[in-house]
Amino acid sequence: MKYIDEYRDADAAEQFREAIHKTVSRPWTLMEVCGGQTHAIVKFGIDELLPKEVELVHGPGCPVCVTPLELIDKAITIASRPDVIFCSFGDMLRVPGSDRDLLMVKANGGDIRIVYSPLDAVKIARENPDKEVVFFAVGFETTAPANAMAVHQAKQLGVKNFSVLVSHVLVPPAIEAVMSSPQCRVQGFLAAGHVCTVMGYTEYEPIAKKYKVPIVVTGFEPLDILQGIFMCVKQLEEGRTEVENQYARSVRKEGNQPAQQLVREVFRIVPRKWRGVGEIPESGLGLTDEYAEFDAEKRFGVSAYTAEEPEECISGLVLQGIKKPNECPAFGTRCTPEHPFGATMVSNEGACAAYHRYRRHLVRVETARGVTI
């Protein structure tokens, strides 16, 4: 189909593959930040086309995966209340909390609804004035404008029975956290195209300069990713560390200004805990004082929750690109998509789930030969 097939064309992919092979003269480690890119890489087998010198490690950009355990527990507590209709994007429902997931709350009679837009949750609130309607506002900068719009609209319309459980996170502080880690091996980044569609890419320029890493704003189709890899490797080979834009058909340098303005009105920058990584300063969004009345944590008294992650789960190391999913001893055995230890095994975009779905045979074959991929 138009605007899709062009970016999945086998001949064009072959041209980029050749170009990457010709350009590379030594080993490079690149990180694709976004979980959507991780998914496309393993779904289409993009990394199999690359020369052995180019290693892709998978970054912390899956919003489902980095939502901290205690926030899932808060969601479960709120969603279990008989007076609540809990609205969420679909893939949050299977994320395990400390002892349950939201699907189990639903099976126990909790009114949990999958919505496609946060504005649908506001609509549900207006249609059910005798219920408290809570929207699980997760995601990176990409989903922040729509979530901000929902809160803004609720305030405008005077919808008092609507609130949001906010777990918004931001990409640039995550890149900084990855680069500051002493174990960091990443030499170049593919930045998330959709995040930059909203935010632009000026905030990446100081990061590229400070850490001397090339950052290429990259799309999500196979050709986008191959071109992003080519541009990043070319910079590395030429000794450049700039911010470049592969995804120019969607991303402008300054981003989407009205969307940013709305986000700034409803949200403020706060420290956030990242599942498997820990707290990163100034790495998330929370409601501003003006919109504090819509904070579900305060409304339902769950602000003080804390929870520890299962010890065996290495999702934090996977999210930082330090380990690959199949280096985990529980991968594919004790930890599977049916029985996940950590969120990276839950979401479509989670690196562990993507490996499990598309790569299990390689792991099996390779380990039989005593080699890991």
Binding site: G45, M92, A107, P337, E338, Y358
Partner: protein, 350 residues
């Protein structure tokens, strides 16, 4: 995939993952598969059930019969391209056809919710009548129950069906052999998107209609052509991917398919791109896969392409002598495995 376990008479419930039934247990994915394998199959253990086919095939006197059942709980009950009534008839007709049987008789059990409009019920009954006529089957027995308002979703229908097998072919997953061609009868994903769009109020430029259709006359043409059919499977819940994974597992052989050979209509692909769905896992109600010796591919395609419900049939892959699952050659030329979904496909965040 888990090994089948033995359970004694005092065993606890052999389900460890979830203590309660989730919606995902009915999603056609791995949770449902595990429920069947770990609970139903061991409990009802018998050779016919062990075949794991769309229906049971057995002899009664000199006749070889196929027997199957299915329940329909689709929401909404009316959708572009069909309704719960046509679905209930075609679904059971197709299960019988996949056994290589000529469907003869159907039963219909209605569970109605107090307060349902009788006009709606009448529309559904008329639709069942038309579907039965088209498929050449008779609805010969039935049952009606009414449950309290709020305890049902307007209407649930169960149909069971009996068909007769009038040839000597053995058609089931265990007959699949290395070297077999894999043929898909047309484009995939339309039913899943039609239901999703109707349920969620999603609007596209033009309505995507379900592919709901009876497959028995097409199957009959294939059998009458004297083709050595090894296996057929209709692609309902769980879609093409789940059907192939199940067949690969039952047969013990690897199935290799090519993404570029699988037909998906542009509007269905577009909806999938928006929702983050993979058409390989979307439900169909008028599509099936066919396994038969490679040498008979052209003849099979000629028969299928001449039929309304097989006009888009194409060879999408082959069975190899490797032993692991389903491998897909992606559009850009790399290989990956195709797995079952755990439960239902859930729309992605972004």
């Amino acid at each position: 995939m888990k090994a089948q376990m033995e359970y004694g008479p005092v065993c606890p419930i052999p389900i460890s993952e979830y203590p309660q039934v989730l919606m995902a247990h009915g999603g056609g994915g791995k949770l449902m598969h595990d429920l069947i394998e770990n609970m139903f199959v061991p409990a009802f253990h018998n050779p016919l059930l062990g075949e794991r086919h769309d229906g049971a095939v057995f002899n009664v006197g000199t006749a070889r019969l196929a027997f199957t059942t299915d329940s329909y709980v689709v929401k909404p009950i009316f959708f572009p391209g069909g309704d719960i009534g046509s679905l209930a008839v075609n679904g059971t007709v197709n299960d019988l056809a996949m056994c290589g049987a000529r469907p003869l008789y159907l039963s219909a059990g209605f569970i109605l919710e107090e307060g349902m409009e009788t006009e709606k019920l009448w529309q559904i009954v008329r639709s069942m009548q038309r579907a039965a006529e088209e498929a050449g089957v008779a609805l010969v027995t039935g049952d009606t129950k009414v449950v309290d308002r709020g305890k049902g979703d307007e209407i649930f229908i169960n149909t069971a069906g009996v068909g007769v097998i009038e040839h000597d072919l053995k058609i089931n997953p265990k007959q699949v052999r290395p070297g077999d061609a894999v043929i898909l009868s047309g484009d995939i994903g339309r039913h899943g998107i039609a239901i999703m769009a109707a349920r969620e109020g999603l609007e596209f430029e033009s309505a995507i209609e379900s592919d709901c259709a009876p497959l028995n006359s097409l199957v009959r043409n294939l059998i009458d052509a004297g083709l050595d059919i090894h296996c057929m499977r209709d692609l309902t819940r769980g879609g093409l991917a789940s059907a192939l994974v199940e067949i690969a597992e039952s047969s013990g052989h690897q199935i290799f398919i090519e993404e570029t050979k699988i037909s998906v209509r542009d509007d269905v692909q577009g909806a999938c791109e928006i929702l983050g769905f993979d058409p390989m896992y979307l439900a169909n109600e008028g599509r099936f896969v066919l396994f038969l010796p490679e040498a008979q591919t052209e003849r099979a395609l000629a028969v299928m392409n001449a039929h309304l419900h097989g006009a888009g049939a194409a060879r999408i892959g082959k069975v190899t002598d490797e032993s692991f699952g389903v491998i897909l050659k992606s559009r850009i030329g790399a290989n990956r495995i195709v797995d079952m979904f755990t439960g239902e496909q859930l729309p992605r965040i972004c």
